[in-house]
Amino acid sequence: MTNLLSLVDVNLASAASFRPELALTFGTMAMFILDLFWKNHPARPARLATGALLVLGVAAALLVSQPTAPGSLFNGMIATDGFATFFKWLFLLAAGLTVLISAPGKDFPPARLGEFYALLMAMVLGLFLMASATDLLMVYLSIELVSLVSYVLAGFKKGDRRAAEASLKYVIYGGVASGVMLFGMSYLFGLLGTTSIGQLAGRIQHLQASGLPAAATKLTLVVAMVLITAGVGYKIAAVPWHMWCPDVYEGAPTPFTAFLSVGPKAAGFAVALRLFYGALSGPSAVTAGFGEAVGGLPWPAIIGVMSVATMTLGNLTALAQTNLKRLLAYSSIAHAGYLLMGLSAASDRGVQAIMIYLLIYVVMNLGSFLVVILVAEATGSESILDYRGLAKRHPLAATAFAVFLFSLTGIPPFAGFVGKWYLFVAVLDRVPGPGGNWYAVLAIIGALNSAVSLYYYVRVVRAMFIDQPYAEPRQAPATPLMYQLLLSASAVAVLVFGLWWTPMIDWTSASLQIFKG
């Protein structure tokens, strides 16, 4: 009984470092209630957006004021550390931008905006938990929270065939992926007797020292890890679990697509880093590669192969796309491939590179989708043909889009270059070590892929600036001031941080502490 009470005490004490999450929980419910007010009021979208921003702001304020010391919360379910805090800021930034984008737009009718914001808050809470989960059960539950909300929001447009299809495909792929992951977790639980991520490495070593037949335990470990990788790979849209991505991105309401392309991807990487790098790489793993800890398989090499497949497939398929949303979907698959390079490097440098890249990626990708929304509202289409002559019709949007696209390619004066530079440095750092030649090959393929991506990004830029308009432009509706502000701010941020990147480096290197339990 005393044992039970001590567990309860831990839970009570943990609430002090759990305030941002509590704010989001109550915020979700508050948004559900706010949704009932101001029916048919002309200022409804503005008021609801203010409410949602308020919730995010309160969560941000509580995040600033919470204790910074790393530690375990709720009996080892989640951890609070610099790593998780960095990702939480990322999610708050992405959610805040999404709220601002969706308020003046036409993707959500005012009557349904309240539900969207409430579900978005719940999703941000799920992302928070994904970034801090240190128990396999919490990983599963938080992924499910994020996924279930995503399924609903992907099909949020009423009577729209594409939206309904997108959410059907999403729910089927997602259900299979989470079922597969769960089955892998059950084997891991059976073999190691624990679900705590922090204890995995120790239990595996104990198992190997216990004199049980090594080959058989190895096989089980490998199968379990492969099955779990499927669940994580689905969240970050890595090949071969990427099939849902283009369809869902195309069918979902564009502001939500924008959020989907950055939020869950970043959270998936947080889970992957915590699992593969934080927990399973022991002190000896720095030289041997962290795979030695798990079944003796060369995991960095396997992730490297995944990375190559993901970026190559993403980039090559993007070449043929004419729908901008699909093009950006394949581009986001390719970017998952670049990010996997950092995971394959399996070093602190690699982790830092992933964090820097994700930070920049949030801004440039949300900005790109904002331009897509803007053009879709003016022309009703997402085809590349409607981007012809955009520079004349809407110079600000065209210039900003060009900045984002060049940044996505990774061309020097823009911030995307900084992110890519650090990713490549992390991989090249590995070249003198064991298996260095393969890292060199990985870096070369990454560079070739960047060159390929330039082709389809430039195609869009050419359409905007050089090509003649496809059809006589209709009278375009006035662009909301909010869009102009957001576009300018994002483009300026991409330019400024492309030239002055020390703050990002300082912040990420201060956030590198991963709580290992």
Binding site: L7, N11, T28, N75, R112, V152, G159, A215, L219
Partner: protein
Amino acid sequence: MTQTTGKLLGWILGTALAIGFVVVMGQLAIGPAAQSMVPAPATSAGLTEVLFYVLAGVTIAGAAGVALSHNILYSAIGLLMALLGAGSLYVFLSADFLAVAQLLIYIGGVLVLVLFAVMLTNRITEITVSNTSLGLWGGLMLFVAVAPVLLAVALVTPWATITPAAAAHTTETIGDALLSRWLLPFEVASLVLLASLVGAVAIARKEIKAD
């Protein structure tokens, strides 16, 4: 024309991959693992054993019915059988609470929901489901590739053997555990349910005509 060639190529590639996978797994992983296989302890066929085999048979038959039947109603009945069989097996695993939960939530809730969906979308029974992207043979091939690995994992791994405790009531222990060690997952699960219920209503209700 090119499409059929592409499809053929895909099939050849897929077959080669599956065969290669089986060979590699057999050579590298399962072979060495099987050499150290511990023979399963001999058991006398008591009533428990017989019941286990019967229930396992019911479960697998139900599962096969779900996956292979051409009539969606038969699939639903197959799911009922599989869930009932698995739920009864939970009792043998001294998980009385979970067995009841399975009965109430899965069979009482989920299955009824599925049956409602079947009835509401009644025209689908007329659609032939033989036209598939992977096809029955593709599925069988996948099964052949995956099954040996999973079976080897189940049979060959020396799972830590601890003498199982005598069957006891688990409800109280689970209740305590849910409000102490597993408090956070418990609360998160409640939020998952809230979000998905609101979401399900939001997506399935008819368009609001006002706007």
